[in-house]
Symmetry: C2
Amino acid sequence: MKFLIQRDRLIQSVQDVMRAVSSRTTIPILTGIKIVAANDGVTFTGSDSDVSIESFIPKEEDGDELVEIKELGSIVLQAKFFSEIVKKLPMDTVEIEVLNQFQTVIRSGKSEFNLIGLDPDEYPHLPQISEDNILKIPTDILKTLIRQTVFAVSTLETRPILTGVNCKVENGKLYCIATDSHRLAMRTAAIDTQSEETYNIVIPGKSLNELNKILDDTNEPVEIVITENQVLFRTKHLLFLSRLLEGSYPDTSRLIPNESKTEITINTKEFLQAIDRASLLAREGRNPNVVKLTTIGSGLVEISSNTPEVGKVVEQVQSQAIDGEELKISFSAKYMMDALKALEGLEIRVNFSGAMRPFVIHPVNDESILQLILPVRTY
Amino acid sequence: MKFLIQRDRLIQSVQDVMRAVSSRTTIPILTGIKIVAANDGVTFTGSDSDVSIESFIPKEEDGDELVEIKELGSIVLQAKFFSEIVKKLPMDTVEIEVLNQFQTVIRSGKSEFNLIGLDPDEYPHLPQISEDNILKIPTDILKTLIRQTVFAVSTLETRPILTGVNCKVENGKLYCIATDSHRLAMRTAAIDTQSEETYNIVIPGKSLNELNKILDDTNEPVEIVITENQVLFRTKHLLFLSRLLEGSYPDTSRLIPNESKTEITINTKEFLQAIDRASLLAREGRNPNVVKLTTIGSGLVEISSNTPEVGKVVEQVQSQAIDGEELKISFSAKYMMDALKALEGLEIRVNFSGAMRPFVIHPVNDESILQLILPVRTY
């Protein structure tokens, strides 16, 4: 194997596939990055066996020569060293050559690295995905869906299924739902599908976080292929494969209240900042991180918290409208701030159905996203 | 106590004095920030009893009203909460008022915090410094002196005196020296003094790091007062007091070689980057982080490292000149990179007196700064 490659593209590809490489793997070959030089370009692969990422650099793009293949072949190089080296090479062009016995030379300017590589035949093959039905969604919308739901997955391993995001495809719509059983985030978007097939899968939150980081913020489509135990995301030069979580996701539709006894319409930023301030004194004590919301008439909402040893904070926020019953309710400031940050739009609508019942937050005039929070009993 | 204050100035002062506050103190009152409202302005104090920082905000500056004093007085507020609160207040102006029993109200816009304060009479008084001799040095030069030496202090507590920077004042000059016994950094600068008095003190490296962070990069003078066990730094509105390390600093002048057998003149950045790259493969193995330098004729310097399990790297750097004997020497890449980053100037001169002897690095044509490194025996 021998090729010349543009350093900037090399750095980007290595950085992307590194997201799948774990230093804690029990399979030694997976501490490496696989490099394959073919006639049409070079492919880099990283994997921790749960997530695999492939990045392809074509020989040519938009008239620019990115790679000059001098000899076909493949190698696996220690990811930790290889990724550090490419970042610090002195020149814009890099030559990578495999000598005998997997010994690999990386040359750039007057700098020459000799790395002891690993046998590429030992690197596991990515599973073959049968591409019967390809779903398509714009990349930026997929990124938004991930951002608006994935923060709500459980971080505890007590119920592993809740560490994933439940993704359902039905009637041309993609539903993403995440809950840690104290709060829930749901977002719906249109998805392009060629068949009537429905899907109901659970993708690990960790995989979606990594996927979100390597996807560019464009409106180019991402292709999605779902199989029984894997999901594949594909863009122009990237391929992201994740295993799915096994088991059935709880039916969350029953959790979402239909009725509303108090409805508050309020500016998102002002509400968020008031809760942020109130949470400053709510870190300790009997109810850590819990703030109280009270309707006090004239469209005013009072946000407060009280930790006897430290002090208390009270703040009034003018709402756009308060409809329905008076209300006193306590909830986690962190959950509320997470939910408000995930929402788009200047104004939100919060629907309460009593101090002990879950409440629901929507952007005003947007039903495609929903955040649900369970209150905390404090008195 | 009651006053109105500009939020931006309040945030800056609190942030500065917070650098002296430690959450691990055994003296409960020192977890707080002391606030004193006097006729001419407000003073904030933080201390961990080793370092004390005072920041003063005058009533008026350049025609702007910064503080409106409504009632004189003082209070101590929990630093952790107070510093978080001021950063998140909604309006440009903040009102701070002490009610009965140290209860303190912080108001800004519609936000109102009630903090349980501590008795200001329990806060230790800063030691009185007799100001017989005031030394003066421009702030930016003091910051450079700190930056160019403090990184070389020892981080081990086996010889506590080496965790400090040795500062000497003699004949209108300030000498700063730091060593961890494997490398040494020295910088000299002119200092303005009104007497013939000489000083030889050791300031904790930690104190100088904090001082460097709170000093602005101006050429306004810093006033320095040295006593038997304290040093005071003072700028317009800041006062920084540190205890000194006890014990005598080793005589480092003997360490610095007078002779030079090989002299290399080289571009600082090219040399630094080559060593950085060579160090990438030198992290593990028998000599962690050690790189080798070899003169190979034609003014070329070869930088290399070799870790059998991982691989090797070789790079040639063109020097401006190599004078004297041929040389093969190994040294810590980290120490060399620290030294090169601390130097000013495009070109450096390295003087070696043999593979087993300490070597010295200067900027070309600048004797006011010196970096010394002990080589590593590898063969």
